[in-house]
Amino acid sequence: MLKPLADWLDDRTGSRRLLAAALDLRTTAAARWRNTIGPVFAILFVIEAFTGLLLMLAYSPSSSTAWGSVLYIDHALWMGWFIRGVHYFAGQAMVILGGLYLLRALWSRAYHRPREFNWWLGLILLFLAVSLSRTGHLLPWDQEGYWSTKIETNIAGGVPIAGPYVQKLVVGGDEYGNLTVTRFHAAHVVLLPVLLAVCLAAQIALGRRQAVAPPAGESTGTGSSWLEHALKNLVASLVVLAVVIGIVLARGGAELEAPADPTSGDYPARPDWYFLWLFQLLRIFPSELRLVATLVIPGAIVAVLFLIPLLDRLLPRGLAHVLACAVVVALLGGAGYLSWRALAVDAADAHYHAARQEADAARDRAIALARDPSAGVPPEGSTFLLRLDPLTRGRGVLEKKCLGCHVLDGKGQGEQTASDLARFGSREWLTGMLKDPASKTYFGAVAGAEGMVEWKRTSKLKPQELEQVVDFVALFPSIPDDLTPDEWLSRKEIADHPGLPLFHKDCGTCHVVEGLCEGGTRDAPGLFAWGSHRWIERMVRKPAALDRYGYLEPKHQMPPFAAEQVSSRDLEMVVRFLKGDYLKPAAPR
């Protein structure tokens, strides 16, 4: 059945001869393990192309969608985490094999005439493998990709004269955003892979030419059959793939940090392992010498590597080889030492650990929000996952702006001169306040706000009556923003509330609720819709208003926060945080 079809195809197209030529299986060399590095590199490239194509089916290159689509790959698609994990770690394996290939070529002096081009192509292949890894790193548009790309492109931008222009072209402007993603994406999926494929093809063609017509003076060996070569290459590839898959399984796929947030303050960006030594160089070089770390040293290393085949001709035979090996061993040793230092310095750095912990928490929170059916990535983009999360953003704003005077669950950042905001507006807060207004949790720390304390001393409410007042006031925070006091009071369940007359009698002599009680006995804030969004908003924007705490001495008043200091969206986040209106984090396991 198949044979006639193949015959027909061959007759019309000459397919068999084409195939035989493409596979050109004659060989003179003996099959050796050390010669499998190149073929394994090539097979890894095929694996990258395959998994990369799969990822492209779901990946969406823009600054608002990239992170969400990567999370979708990891969690919503069958085996998505595995495919992305293999893609990520096989890419790292390509970098390692590219390096091993060069080491082996150096050791066996395979840069020597007539193999100069094998050496140069090997260098270029390693460069391309690293570039693929670096461009791929940005694509999830998570904190890690964002900050390390920013650092790397800023380093490139520091090169005299051309640097700033190159940086602008690579980044797509001065700002990191959509154009950075689309450019890196184009480089990662088309430009670099095509270049790599071309170089790989050239490398293979060169290798073949030398195998069929071995350079003079090289033994032709016994020559192994192509099957032996194929088997060794396959076994070596299998071993590498097994290691890659082992890492993927052990780590549950590739990392995904919290979505990139250019405004986040404390993300501890660290480069991939193969750049750790450069990172450490940057840390130890003083600013005026930084070009030595970012340009001179790496540039010199690359230049020496490129020039090795030529040095080999200039220097007495053998000397260049010994020198080159010595230099490379020294470089590797130095890089290894620096990398180890980089890790050791981090390990001993408490601030790094704190920042890392914060980043982990942000990541877990972002992933939980994005995966929850009731939350999900907002249309504004993944950066807004956390900015629109009351628990993250609301709490953050509160800590920055409010905890200089207020405290949260007893914890503040300065001398406490205002109430504890934890659960402000809740029944619990209210009950506690009416029981013991003089506690520091409520008005104990507020100078000039003795009204409630005095009330407590003189109030004749029975416990059960107090309970009814609490019931009544606990309704205030949920009064909708578009309801006037009259409309609210005319609701049946309000008009008939048993707490209403008690409130009127006991609270209404000081507090104003329009249409219900006039106050007047002593100064007190207006209570209509107390604890609601609109009440808090007015308190934050105009604390000196007469219906808030304008009666306090100016130096005891809360400072106002205008929209420039706390945007209305941030204020909403704070209010929702105080009200507990957010996706509750899963209980820690």
Binding site: L54, M79, I83, A230, L234, L238, V377, P379
Partner: protein, 174 residues
């Protein structure tokens, strides 16, 4: 078995060992869209009875949170439904037809006469009861389940669903 055959066999085994651990997860990955959705559509309140006049179909948007892969759009129109009030005494008093054409899924509009439906894509014509009036569509417009509470001006609640186009039977998607 000769040494050559053994080698050949080993090469095949290794090739398979290399390809399968990637091909099988790759296939699963590709087939992900076939995953069962969490589905279970619910009823949405679209209108009140007083919004409708007998014999005058009106289109209403179904507003829901829309999940497009990883993005969640809060409260978006996800589809449209034609509501047609029936003459006095007919039960149920309202018929709901999805605006998605059973032919190939375009949005069905009201014809100029206001008394029939016309799909602008391939000119399917349907009567006000949803029956096809030419041979383009394989089946009538798809009726949707409806809930009408008691009371003088009840809410009309509709269970919005999608159906496979082109088939002559009504087969719910997902």
């Amino acid at each position: 078995m000769s040494r050559r055959d053994l080698l050949r066999r080993l090469v095949s085994i290794c090739s398979a060992g290399l390809a399968l651990p990637l091909a099988i997860p790759g296939l699963a990955y590709l087939l992900s869209p076939l995953k069962k959705g969490s589905g279970g559509s619910s009823y949405d309140a679209l209108a009140r009875l007083s919004d409708l006049k007998v014999g005058e179909p009106r289109a209403f948007a179904v507003i829901r949170d829309l999940r497009d892969a990883w993005v969640k759009y809060p409260r978006q129109p996800i589809g449209a439904v034609w509501l047609i009030r029936q003459p006095e005494g007919v039960d149920p008093p309202v018929v709901a037809l999805t605006a998605e054409c059973p032919h190939l899924g375009c949005a069905v509009a009201l014809a100029a006469d206001g008394k029939s439906f016309l799909c602008p894509c391939h000119n399917s014509v349907f009567g006000i009861d949803g029956k096809p009036q030419n041979a383009v569509s394989p089946r009538p417009m798809d009726p949707l389940d409806i809930q009408i509470a008691k009371g003088d001006d009840p809410e009309i609640r509709v269970k919005f669903e999608r159906f496979r186009p082109q088939s002559d039977r009504r087969i719910p998607l997902a």
